[in-house]
Symmetry: C3
């Protein structure tokens, strides 16, 4: 049984940003020398998400609009009494979920034809970490 | 350490459909001869979901209505500039999440009494794949 | 390869409640003697959730308000024709997801600085179970 753990750090230019990390996950898999198993890809912050969907710029803008509609920025979240202003970032993170598990078969990411792995930042412009853990044989 | 990987293909009759796949996942577990571990059940398409909830037809209709309310069909998604018409299917998939992990204990799916595994199709009427990967000992 | 499986039972005083279970998950990890791997933390009921986010009481109230807004209690869910009254609890569970995977590195939960593991009860005041399964080496 083998493990390989890798941390990525993102510092986005924008407050919200969507970054395709499929090639970084593939690289972690190659480094692991694992042929069969699973990869956990998980945001280590509570105002970010990891998801699998399409690498299509129009859809990414649709996702961003939709998240702002369902979990909008508001000044009056109770969380803001702590001095924070990012209540909406937490809710967006919960809506999208902070992690995915990617299957590994024959040494490859076993994804469907359009499945791409994204890191979604909802409170950026500062260093945020993500963990990739490959587990298998 | 053992692995067993299996692919299912669904071609639904309706555009949106909810299919109980618990027995297919149980069968994959039996084939694997694994007694302890985890099973990843993951849609390989970006307009479908896998979730765990109740096998109750009224609730399934409630879920469908609720998804259409929170992630409605609209003609004006930016994604549709590509020629696609399924922007809402992507958003429904993100809301429900595309995968679950099922625990395996003593050679059985270690689910609660009402937990059933569902494949949710949001853009059907064509072949769509799903991966079941059993990992354990 | 090692496994350690543990079940927790919650009986909340309120209908909806949010319980920080990080220390219970840490304890299960210590019992397992596993240094590298993954922990599945999964609700065994279909009206509860497990999520990772902040241990901040204002935010937890924000999350509760937000869930009630997006998946409100209503008398007229089709599911209620069965005699149940908890249609909203199922939808809240689906929105938040019923499980998380926590990475284990060097014998510790490999969480970010503010990541805490929560059990979210949406239909409490009766015994509800959760499974913790540690898998690794």
């Amino acid at each position: 049984m083998k493990f390989h753990t890798k941390y990525l750090t993102f510092q986005t230019k924008k407050h919200r940003e969507y970054i395709n990390i499929t090639s970084e996950v593939e690289q972690a898999l190659q480094e692991s020398d694992i042929r069969e198993g699973m990869i956990l890809v998980s945001a280590m912050h509570i105002t970010a998400a990891v998801y699998v969907n399409d690498a299509e710029s129009g859809l990414i803008q649709d996702i961003d609009d939709w998240l702002e509609h369902l979990a909008p920025y508001q000044s009056d979240y109770r969380h803001h009494r702590t001095g924070e202003t990012n209540g909406d970032s937490h809710l967006k993170s919960l809506l999208m979920h902070h992690e995915v598990i990617v299957p590994v078969t024959n040494g490859r990411l076993d994804l469907g034809p359009w499945q791409q792995i994204y890191y979604a930042e909802f409170d950026g412009q500062r260093p945020k970490r993500l963990i990739i853990k490959v587990m298998g044989a």
